[in-house]
């Protein structure tokens, strides 16, 4: 009877543990035929589906014809195999094992005072529906995006691969939160070295809680002080699928509607899933526009400043005269003007992101009026500077994933341009190149080796080649199984013609 005592104390312990917690419910009931066999189920309100508890657990057990003579194991087997009709049922024992299940929406069934319990999956809590991702919109292409639920997210990825090669490895991270993460990759394509490196880094993580994938990102990325991302993220399952096919690894993290992908290279900033869903000429043009946008967003203020304050001879005479005219009564030096305007722009951007949408509109109108028209008329800033700030602001949205980085790059460029003109600007560009060239993401060079890659690897960088031409996966990431489009596909295409 020692066991009985211990089980009893388990139940009692559980009760005392959650004595003030009203969400944890204990319900005791007995079998109709044999009232001596008593049961107690416990579950967390709000995380379970009451209907299924009622119809799959309580009702069948109460009505079941149980026999008092059965010993505990037989009884449990009988209940879990013949009576409880829930989808997932398992037996367990020990409080430490039980509590995590209880807190993730399972129902725990105590039989009499026995130490063994049955854990029944009745979890059902309110989830956000699968919606179109906000930050990565697409005109064509799928409209589904990740949600906060890791199960849904993994499901969204799995649905795209109907082979057993898709491997999903689950892990719990965080000493307090025990956040579930899932490492997804495709066996046979993935680079084993990168996988090992990733696992090694995940093992090394020592943190109390992971609330968002960003925590994870910062903990496992290379060169953590670099402003550039060496780990990609996306809200879209189709993008993840694409990256998996390129041999990358995706990590889905519980509670985060994004998946992170490794390794991440610089060019991926400029690749958008839309590219693959539209005509490749159009996609190529868009990509080039994105590169130009990056250049403009990072360099326009610096170049403008350098030209206006150091290299006036480079401006055409008419332009010089009109800039000079518009700056006639402006009280600030150009550099202050530039920093001020960029700051105001970032301020407006940040405000409008945090504001409710309705007020956001007001902000933009006020912003446009105040920093545009009125500021120029009051001769606080010059009109060309408004144009520069606006151009910079708009172009920085062309590469949305890079916004944070762009602010830093822009500021560094601007400061060096203010110091020694275009020379300073060039120096900082060289500096950026040194930094980028020395970065690595999980052993993969961040910037591509132009000289060592074959033209076939270039097909998905500045241009988006048609799929018939993109026969191989990127060499740097994938070492074996590089053929992307099989021979059959191509011959089939020809046959149809």
């Amino acid at each position: 009877m020692e066991k009985n005592e211990s089980t009893k104390s388990d139940l009692i312990e559980l009760k005392t543990m959650f004595s003030n917690d009203e969400t944890v419910t204990f319900r005791e009931f007995c079998c109709k035929k044999e009232p001596s066999i008593c049961f107690c189920i416990t579950f967390v309100n709000g995380m379970i589906d009451k209907n299924s508890i009622h119809s799959q657990i309580i009702k069948p057990i109460i009505e079941a014809e149980l026999d008092d003579t059965l010993d505990i194991n037989q009884l449990l087997n009988l209940i879990s195999k013949e009576i409880v009709s829930a989808a997932s049922v398992q037996q367990s024992s020990g409080l430490d094992n039980i509590i995590p299940f209880l807190l993730t929406g399972n129902t725990i069934l105590f039989v009499r005072e026995f130490n063994k319990v049955i854990i029944i999956d009745t979890s059902d809590w309110d989830k956000r529906a699968i919606t179109e991702p906000e930050s990565e919109r697409t005109v064509t292409g799928p409209r589904e995006g990740f949600t906060e639920n890791i199960g849904t997210n993994v499901m969204l990825i799995r649905r795209k691969f109907k082979t057993r090669n898709l491997k999903l490895e689950f892990k719990d991270i965080g000493s307090e939160t025990k956040t579930k993460i899932c490492i997804c990759y495709i066996e046979g394509i993935v680079n084993k070295k990168i996988l090992q490196e990733l696992n090694r880094r995940i093992e090394k993580i020592d943190i109390d809680g992971i609330l968002d994938a960003q925590y994870l990102q910062e903990l496992i990325k290379d060169s953590p002080m670099s402003p550039f991302k060496t780990i990609g993220y996306t809200e879209r399952p189709d993008v993840v699928a694409g990256k998996l096919l390129e041999g990358r690894i995706a990590i889905v993290c519980e509670g985060t509607p994004v998946a992170i992908t490794v390794p991440f290279t610089f060019v991926e900033y400029f690749n958008v899933n839309e590219d693959y869903y539209s005509n490749f000429y159009y996609a190529t043009i868009n990509r080039i526009i994105r590169w130009v946008g990056f250049f403009l967003a990072s360099s326009v203020p610096a170049i403008y400043l350098a030209l206006v304050t150091f290299h006036q001879e480079m401006l055409p005479t008419q332009l010089l005269l009109s800039i000079s005219a518009s700056r006639q009564n402006v009280p600030f030096p150009t550099i202050v003007e530039a920093i001020l305007m960029l700051f105001v722009f970032e301020l407006l951007r940040e405000t409008s992101v945090r504001m409710p949408t309705v007020i956001g509109q007001t902000i933009s109108i006020v912003g446009a009026l105040v920093i545009g028209q009125a500021a120029v008329e009051a001769e606080l800033v010059s009109a060309p500077m408004i144009i520069v700030a606006a151009l910079t602001g708009i172009t920085s949205f062309v590469v949305p994933k890079m916004q944070g980085e762009l602010i830093i790059i822009r500021l560094v460029f601007l400061m060096s341009a203010a110091y020694i003109g275009l020379y300073g600007y060039l120096f900082s560009v060289i500096g950026m190149f040194i930094h980028l060239a020395s970065l690595r993401s999980f052993g993969i060079p961040y910037m591509l080796d132009i000289g060592t890659f074959k033209p076939s690897d270039a097909k998905d960088i500045m241009v988006r080649a048609p799929w018939q031409e993109m026969k191989t996966r990127p060499k740097l990431v994938v070492q074996k199984n590089r053929n992307r489009v099989g021979r059959e596909t191509k011959e089939g295409d020809n046959g149809e013609k």
């Binding site: 150091f310 006036q312 001879e313 005479t317 005219a325 006639q328 150009t334 110091y419 500096g431 020395s438």
Partner: protein, 384 residues
């Protein structure tokens, strides 16, 4: 991982601190500049350089206004005078956008190179400035005339110079070409000249004619007609008009418009004498016939062609004799031509080129091809 971003931070820090602590050496605000658009150089009697600098005065009264402002400044050197102007203007004079330098005849006759050294040496001044020789008493008064279309005289001169291709009345020479010529002694430098003409009772500028230099000294002028003839020998005619007075024995004046012109200059040795063989090949169209003569029909065109060829030939010959005999300046680059095509001969005559040039004969062959008659087939006249 090598932590490069550390140095990245250093450079950023250095840049920031330098801005704060040491000030900015070349940092200058654009509105702090007095943008010079042109300068006229004169010499005062006692060897003092007198500059008239045209500065664009930018105002902003609702919308931008640009007006010329003239600063006069003296100094023993060009640079001193230019720098002294700062005290009068209050802002630093900015030279990079200057379009025009007008040099008075007086200076040019003495030694033009002296005054150009600053323009050549200074990093701020550009090499694509127009250099003009004033035919008025002082160069300053040209700059201070009133611009007809643009308020700023220098900009107007700039526009006029750029339209050279359709006028062909002055040589198209930018400052750097003049420098190249100065460095290369064998070719005599030339420059366009500028003077004032009266229009609606106000004086405005007019560019036309050529100033001929020998070395750095001005030795004479060519009028506009001769300038065109000279440009033919330099293969620089790109367009313009040929005016035939009393063409082919009639009373009518005819204007031919030049489409294309090519002059081929080769030195030849004929009976032991070195000669320059010049073949001018001009494509023209009949642009205007002031009269009723028939120059459109085939025989008429032949007549016109023969007359035009003769006229051009005469013009060139007259000009050539004038330049050769009066100035003895090889403005056509014949010496350079000989050096290029007959390096051995050149080595022999190089040192005695001036004397040799004085005897150099021209073998001229002009071919005028009438390619069309603009839009009409007949001369304009009352029907019969």
């Amino acid at each position: 991982m090598v932590k490069n971003n550390k140095l990245f931070c250093v450079i950023t820090m250095l840049i920031c601190s330098c801005i704060i602590f040491t000030g900015c050496w070349n940092y200058r605000e654009v509105e702090q500049l007095a943008i010079a658009s042109g300068v006229a150089v004169d010499e005062k009697s006692d060897g003092i350089t007198h500059l008239t600098i045209e500065v664009v005065n930018i105002g902003r009264d609702g919308k931008a206004t640009y007006e010329p402002k003239y600063i006069e400044s003296d100094g023993y050197t060009f640079f001193e005078a230019a720098r002294k102007a700062v005290t009068k203007e209050g802002k630093k004079i900015y030279w990079s956008h200057a379009k025009v330098v007008i040099i008075s005849e007086e200076i040019a006759r003495k030694d033009i190179a002296k005054y150009l050294d600053f323009l050549f040496r200074d990093a701020e001044t550009r090499e694509d400035i127009w250099l003009l020789i004033s035919k008025e008493k002082t160069a300053g008064e040209i700059l201070q005339s009133k611009g007809m279309l643009k308020p700023i005289v220098s900009f107007q001169i700039d526009d006029a110079m750029r339209s050279q291709k359709s006028i062909t009345r002055f040589p198209f020479i930018q400052l750097y070409e003049f420098f190249d010529r100065l460095f290369y002694k064998q070719v005599a430098p030339i420059l366009p000249t500028i003077n004032l003409v009266e229009q609606h009772g106000e004086k405005s500028t007019h560019v036309g004619g050529t100033a001929i230099f020998k070395g750095e000294k001005l030795i004479g002028f060519l009028n506009e007609e001769d300038t065109k003839s000279m440009l033919w020998l330099r293969d620089e005619v790109k367009g313009g008009l040929i005016i035939l007075k009393n063409a082919a024995g009639t009373d009518d004046n005819v204007t031919l418009e030049i489409y294309k012109s090519k002059s081929k200059i080769t030195p030849i040795v004929q009976e032991g004498v070195l000669k320059m063989k010049v073949e001018v090949d001009v494509d023209v169209s009949v642009g205007e016939i002031m009269g009723t003569s028939d120059f459109i029909s085939s025989p008429g065109r032949q007549k016109l062609k023969a007359f035009a060829e003769k006229r051009v030939e005469e013009d060139i010959n007259t000009m050539y004799t004038l330049v050769r005999d009066n100035y003895n300046a090889d403005v056509f680059g014949f010496g350079r031509n000989i050096e290029m095509k007959m390096p051995d001969v050149w080595k022999q005559i190089k040192d005695d080129w001036d004397n040799f040039y004085a005897e150099l004969e021209l073998e001229l062959n002009v071919k005028v091809n009438i390619r069309g008659s603009a839009t009409t087939r007949v001369p304009l006249k009352a029907g019969k």
